[in-house]
Symmetry: C2
Subunit: 359 residues, 2 copies
């Protein structure tokens, strides 16, 4: 079936009305909506409004608190730990980044670890909040365990993304936003819908053997860390995912590793939790804490121009992290956001439930 394309504003209004029906305060419903819509605009369809029904189900299961009382539990001039009170990660991460930026304003950098949260959307969104304020922004989160460490047959880590956004002068922002796996789960979902095989090196079966069946995760299989196998550096992807897990959850007191709560509401929470909820880690570094901001930004422009002009193989060009997403955004703000019919159907079920106009 063909995708159906919606103008950004229509999806924005719909999404906000759902968050309002869940009981979110108006400003927080707007923030949560913005995170999802930006994901869709930037072409990261797996993290846009397609996730909205997931949040609704978690809320119905009592796992999301629509009116959380977010608190700072502990802080120093450059750090804080915050308790998200089971709120929407989408909103909590924005608050955490605001705290990080405030600390950076005062002492150069700010670092905030968050517990008792839920899925925070695309990591890049939160990192970019800082980059717009002449700070380097960093955002990471742990997530539902889907990834097997090198040599493992068990799922121990989430796709645990790392995002880093860096300010520039005339060039567009440098925005790296990557799962620490070879392929993000969203890419696998696309293959599932298309009933196509996955490339080797993305997933393994329940016995730890390489597989190309995109449905392998439903049968005890796992995603592979960046690097795919030991010979190609999967121990590095595993280490990166572990670092994200530790900064997000051991710093804060959230659940780590296999205890991380699942995003889907039909999977049970761990019976023996080691912390509260999911964890995030947000950082902001003022560029002028290192070097005059103009000087830094001029050199970033030079960095980007030099890398963009790298000699490339015929027919290809060297991209700067963030290029494909910006390209998608440029197009979709005009032409609209294409949704899979299955996603539209799910959203219309939510509309029915909340007595809202259908999409």
């Amino acid at each position: 079936m063909e995708n159906i394309t919606y103008p950004e504003n229509k999806l924005r209004a719909f999404t906000k009305s759902v968050f309002l029906k869940m009981g979110c305060p108006n400003d927080e419903a707007e923030q949560a909506t913005d995170v999802l819509i930006k994901a869709d605009l930037r072409g990261i369809d797996s993290h846009g409004v397609a996730r909205l029904t997931g949040y609704v189900r978690l809320w119905e299961a009592g796992r999301i608190n629509a009116t959380p009382n977010v608190k700072i539990l502990h802080e120093t001039p450059s750090t804080a730990v915050i308790d998200g009170d089971r709120g929407l990660g989408l909103v909590i991460a924005i608050k955490a980044m605001e705290i990080a930026m405030e600390k950076a304003k005062n002492v150069g950098t700010g670092w905030v670890s968050v517990k008792n949260s839920n899925h925070f959307g695309i990591a890049g969104y939160h990192a970019m909040l800082a980059a717009e304020k002449d700070m380097v922004g960093m955002a990471m989160t742990n997530a539902s365990p889907l990834v097997a460490p090198t040599f493992a047959t068990e799922r121990m880590l989430g796709t645990n993304p790392i995002a880093v956004a860096i300010p520039t002068k005339d060039q567009p922002l440098f925005v790296a936003d990557m799962a620490t796996t070879t392929a993000a789960n969203g890419k696998l979902e696309i293959l599932q819908r298309q009933e196509k095989d996955a490339p080797e090196g993305w997933i393994q079966n329940r016995d730890g053997e390489t597989s190309t069946n995109p449905f392998e995760l439903k049968d005890g299989g796992a995603l592979l860390p960046l690097g795919s196998d030991r010979e190609h550096g999967s121990h590095k992807g595993y280490a990166l995912g572990s670092i994200v897990d530790i900064f997000s959850a051991v710093f804060s007191g959230a659940n780590y590793g296999p205890w991380a709560p699942p995003f889907v509401s039909f999977l049970p929470l761990a019976k023996d939790p080691v912390g509260e909820g999911l964890g995030h880690f947000l950082g902001a570094m003022r560029i002028d804490a290192f070097r005059p901001a103009d000087e830094f930004k001029e050199h970033m422009d030079n960095w980007i121009q030099r890398f963009r002009n790298t000699k490339a193989v015929p027919g290809k060009k060297v991209l700067i992290p963030g290029d494909p997403e910006r390209e998608a955004e440029r197009e979709r703000v005009i032409s609209g956001i294409p949704l899979n019919p299955k996603v539209v159907q799910d959203l219309n079920e939510v509309a029915g439930k909340f007595d809202l106009d259908l999409l």
Copy 2:
């Protein structure tokens, strides 16, 4: 030819005497020696005393200043930029980490970017300095351009390592220390000595085609970013290497990307430098800036135990980052450090030059 094994202390005395002959102050000669010997003990032979002749040649070429005046150029309570005055990176990075730790003591975290430096040895050494003081330690550096970004046929980045060391209670430290490439250059050097083919996915030839010839770099080839190719996430390895480059060199005012100075003295420096020398980035985060130190360390022990007990494929076990290096160290402090005869020959040439006893 067989390796020749030396007791740690003999190599330590020899190495220190070489740094002293270069004119390093006694304490700095000891520091530089410790970084190299620890690399050998930890099994990272490519970064141990095998590099000593390289430092000597750089010093002879006037590219290393044995008595640098290391200065803080700019600082905030949580950040600093330091000018390494063309000194040994081995020593400058230790000073930079000391500054980072002092700042962490005061405001929770400390972040130091360094310019005008040289090769700093194994990144893990510097990260571990902080972990021994109940801080998470981070160390990165840019390096001689040997790596082609995704789709490139040009070498634009170094193997730009990231190290993260995390304190524990009864378990050994978590120490991740990884090049942001599929395989470190040292692994390629081992294949060159053995005249064996490299696995696919490690290197490409001058036209950007995958190659298994370990000598490809001498003919315009390049190392590949972690992920190996686009389908397996090489754009992520490229992004990670880029972030290391920017934090190390754009923050500080060092040379970045293809301008990074080569480690080997026979290659010329860039004619149009964009900064001074090589750059590093060091960070320290006090664990009790987030959570009581004991609590953090107990959960780290639990994290490590759970991951060590992950179900694994038959005959394998899941390792914790730092395990293989610690295993090597446990053995080599007793049995000694094996050196390739070619390395011994090079070191004895240095001995002759400086009128020192042969190894």
